[in-house]
């Protein structure tokens, strides 16, 4: 009996040691620099609040820590969509002026491989910018660093929250250089075939209610020729 208890204690200790080594493994850190950062093409930036309460509408399965809002919105409880969340939000241009609307569908991805530091989400942005046009951004996002650096510390802290400065690119594909796909639909974006990267800057997180202060940023590469210069575009 004594040896069995010792074996079990060793087993539990081993699992804890492995979990700590896994979380501290520097090889699983995501790239902080996207390939768009060194691109010579023009880029358009759209930013938004990543706090659900700031969105026009947000819904999920109703059991997650982030509550759907408005309160009366339909929840995604069916088995096929219970790992999905939908956000409708205002997208601002580089000066912080409302530029349009974005609808984001995000589902937990079966490409998730925690062993390799990948906590993936398959997401699609449906973007409409009045008087300019529309496009979609399809991407695979990796939230492993976000979970490791923010969600787990917030869950383990006595106050059940996290505060700090955290910024990282979330986009991890499907482009070979870790970029998302952009497909134009209408207006000046009709026929657009380009790349995009989404990044997140978090400042506060609650283990009970999710992001408290966080901003998302979509950086979309535009072809060099044939586009109108606008104040919201960055050279």
């Amino acid at each position: 009996m004594k040896y069995l208890l010792t074996l079990l204690a060793g087993f539990a200790s081993g699992a804890i040691v492995a979990a700590i080594l896994f979380l501290l493994n520097p090889l699983t850190a995501a790239d902080e620099l996207s390939s768009l950062a060194v691109s010579g093409n023009r880029q358009m930036v759209l930013n938004y609040s990543a706090v659900a309460d700031d969105a026009i509408a947000y819904t999920n399965n109703g059991e997650s820590r982030v509550r759907p809002q408005p309160a009366a919105i339909l929840q995604l409880w069916e088995p096929t969509i219970r790992n999905t969340e939908v956000t409708v939000t205002v997208l601002n241009d580089g000066r912080g002026v409302p530029a349009g609307l974005g609808i984001k569908f995000a589902s937990l991805s079966e490409s998730t491989r925690l062993f390799h530091g990948m906590a993936n989400v398959d997401s699609v942005w449906h973007v409409y910018l009045p008087d300019r046009g529309s496009f979609v951004v399809a991407q695979r996002e990796n939230y492993f660093d976000y979970l490791r650096d923010i969600v787990i510390p917030a869950t383990w802290s006595s106050g059940k929250n996290w505060k700090g400065e955290w910024q990282a690119n979330l986009t991890a594909g499907p482009g070979t250089l870790g970029t998302g796909e952009v497909a134009g639909g209408s207006g000046e974006f009709a026929g657009l075939d380009s790349e995009a990267v989404e990044s997140l800057a978090a400042r506060a997180y609650s283990a009970q209610t999710g992001p408290v202060a966080a901003d998302g940023l979509l950086t979309i590469e535009l072809p060099r020729a044939g586009r109108t210069e606008l104040a919201s575009d960055q050279p």
Binding site: T6, L7, T80, I103
Partner: protein, 190 residues
């Protein structure tokens, strides 16, 4: 070395191996799947039909100046920019009436050009489809459009999407939206 220490070390190694093995082998995400209902077209390609029951499947409808937004407490952003934009979110069903995904429909009037009507269909276990529709509905109230982009299972495809509003008997406000997607994999016969 005492036997108890050897036992603890053996347990430690087993624990590390078990945790690592479980992390490597056990899938962290397993999306629920429904069997696809696909018809094969005689001239090549596949057809899938989806439906949306209104108002049961309507998650959201927001637009400038709308009298009855869904949900009722929805706050639409102010400003001219958002007045002519209509955004709807739906749950998407297959022909067996099982929810298989979510969808967005954006309809917007343009000051300078053609009205915009678009769909994004998001099926978590399979991928997403983006389609732009024509501004005018054709015979039988069928509006057609073309697929602009697809992800995962729907990547490398071309095709068309058709939408049709079927009102419920005796109630023009309720009914269902029928969507028919025609997929042709690029590189095959079109």
């Amino acid at each position: 070395m005492p036997v108890v220490v050897k036992t603890f070390i053996a347990g430690l190694i087993l624990g590390i191996a078990a945790f690592t093995g479980a992390l490597y082998a056990i899938p962290a995400v397993d999306q629920h799947r429904e069997n696809s209902i696909i018809s094969v077209r005689t001239n090549g390609g596949n057809v899938e039909r989806y439906r949306v029951s209104v108002p049961v499947d309507r998650i959201m409808i927001g637009a400038g100046g709308i009298a009855n937004p869904v949900p009722v407490d929805l706050e639409w952003p102010e400003g001219d920019r958002f007045e002519n934009v209509n955004v709807e979110l739906f749950k998407l069903r297959n022909e067996r009436d099982t929810v298989i995904g979510v969808a967005s429909r954006v309809a917007a009037g343009s000051r300078s050009g053609e009205p915009v009507i678009e769909w994004v269909l998001h099926l978590p276990a399979r991928g997403s489809v983006y389609a732009t529709m024509s501004s005018e509905a054709g015979a039988g109230g069928v509006r057609t459009g073309s697929l602009r982009h697809g992800t995962r299972e729907f990547s490398a495809i071309a095709g068309a999407l058709a939408e049709r509003w079927v009102p419920a008997a005796g109630d023009a406000g309720n009914g269902r939206i029928e969507l028919e997607a025609s997929f042709v994999r690029l590189g095959e016969d079109e």
